[in-house]
């Protein structure tokens, strides 16, 4: 992963801190295509929203949010892509969609509303959801063979749905 980041053809680091903005909504959107791109968005405060879309192989996207109405959406298309999402505080909502092979999606949520959704289409993909706090809800859909899911929920309201559909 270190190599992936250092050899990134393009890297975008966006930091938006709510306290420093007149508009407390904190919106970030990143679109990338190509090979070995890295995208990261870090937000703090108020109504955080991030959307990252990457097409190509060897992509890496990371989103970190702290604060209130956290929303994160990650889309990746290609092989050997990875998404890492971390949310803390209040109404956390994270959605990751990946299509390709050898993909990995990690979602870490701490706080109140914790809702996580991960959809992966392809083969040999890995999805991890880690939730702490209240109202933990995780949904993971994987289509293809050789998939792997890990869900960890700690707190109240723990609900997990895993859907896996393999090919013959």
């Amino acid at each position: 992963m270190k190599r992936l980041l250092t050899t990134a053809a393009a890297a975008i680091m966006i930091f938006s801190f709510g306290a420093a903005h007149a508009d407390p909504r904190n919106r970030v959107r990143v679109d990338q295509s190509g090979f070995a791109n890295g995208a990261a968005a870090a937000q703090q405060g108020e109504r955080n929203g991030t959307v990252i879309v990457q097409g190509g192989n060897g992509q890496y996207a990371r989103g970190v949010q702290s604060g209130y109405n956290n929303f994160l959406r990650m889309d990746q298309f290609g092989t050997r892509n990875r998404v890492a999402t971390a949310q803390r505080g209040e109404n956390n909502f994270a959605v990751t969609g990946q299509e390709g092979r050898n993909l990995r999606a990690d979602t870490l949520q701490t706080g109140f509303g914790n809702v996580s959704g991960i959809a992966q289409i392809g083969m040999n993909n890995t999805a991890v959801a880690d939730q702490d706090g209240v109202n933990n809800t995780s949904g993971i859909i994987q289509v293809g063979n050789g998939q792997d899911v890990t869900v960890r929920q700690r707190g109240d309201g723990n609900i997990s749905v895993v859907v896996q559909s393999g090919y013959n």
């Binding site: 959406r73 889309d75 298309f77 909502f93 959605v95 990751t96 969609g97 990946q98 299509e99 509303g113 809702v115 996580s116 959704g117 991960i118 959809a119 289409i121 209240v134 109202n135 933990n136 809800t137 995780s138 949904g139 993971i140 859909i141 994987q142 289509v143 293809g144 063979n145 050789g146 998939q147 792997d148 899911v149 890990t150 869900v151 960890r152 929920q153 700690r154 707190g155 109240d156 309201g157 723990n158 609900i159 997990s160 749905v161 895993v162 859907v163 896996q164 559909s165 393999g166 013959n168």
Partner: protein, 143 residues
Amino acid sequence: MKNLMTVAALGLVTACAAQAPTGAQTETLLPAARVPAAEPLQASPGAPETLGATCDIRETRTAGGLRLEAIVQADQAVRGEYDFVITALSRGGSSDVTQGGAVNLAAGQGAVVGAAEIPAGSYRAALTLGDAGGELCRVEHRS
């Protein structure tokens, strides 16, 4: 396909969120599963009774596979923690689901403390309830 995936992910999350307790519902959904002593939750015949509480895992077939619910029934007041661990194998791959949290029940109350839906295939699920004094009950299901 891009839209399909996004719609699928959003749909799943929305569906899950619809089931999830939110805000004020927190006090009604999970505790709503609590029932008074006159109507204890029905434990399966194989569920062992132990020190002041009974653990059970309720299985319900769904369109996508199997829904497993972790149920705790307190014979005496319980203030402890539970662990619900599921390992599943399906045609698509493997799943590991771990749930845990605090359990506070008065004597005679029961609650669904956790729930998971897993894909069709083989599985192993274990529910353990313990307090400061140690393990109160444990039940294990496997296909």
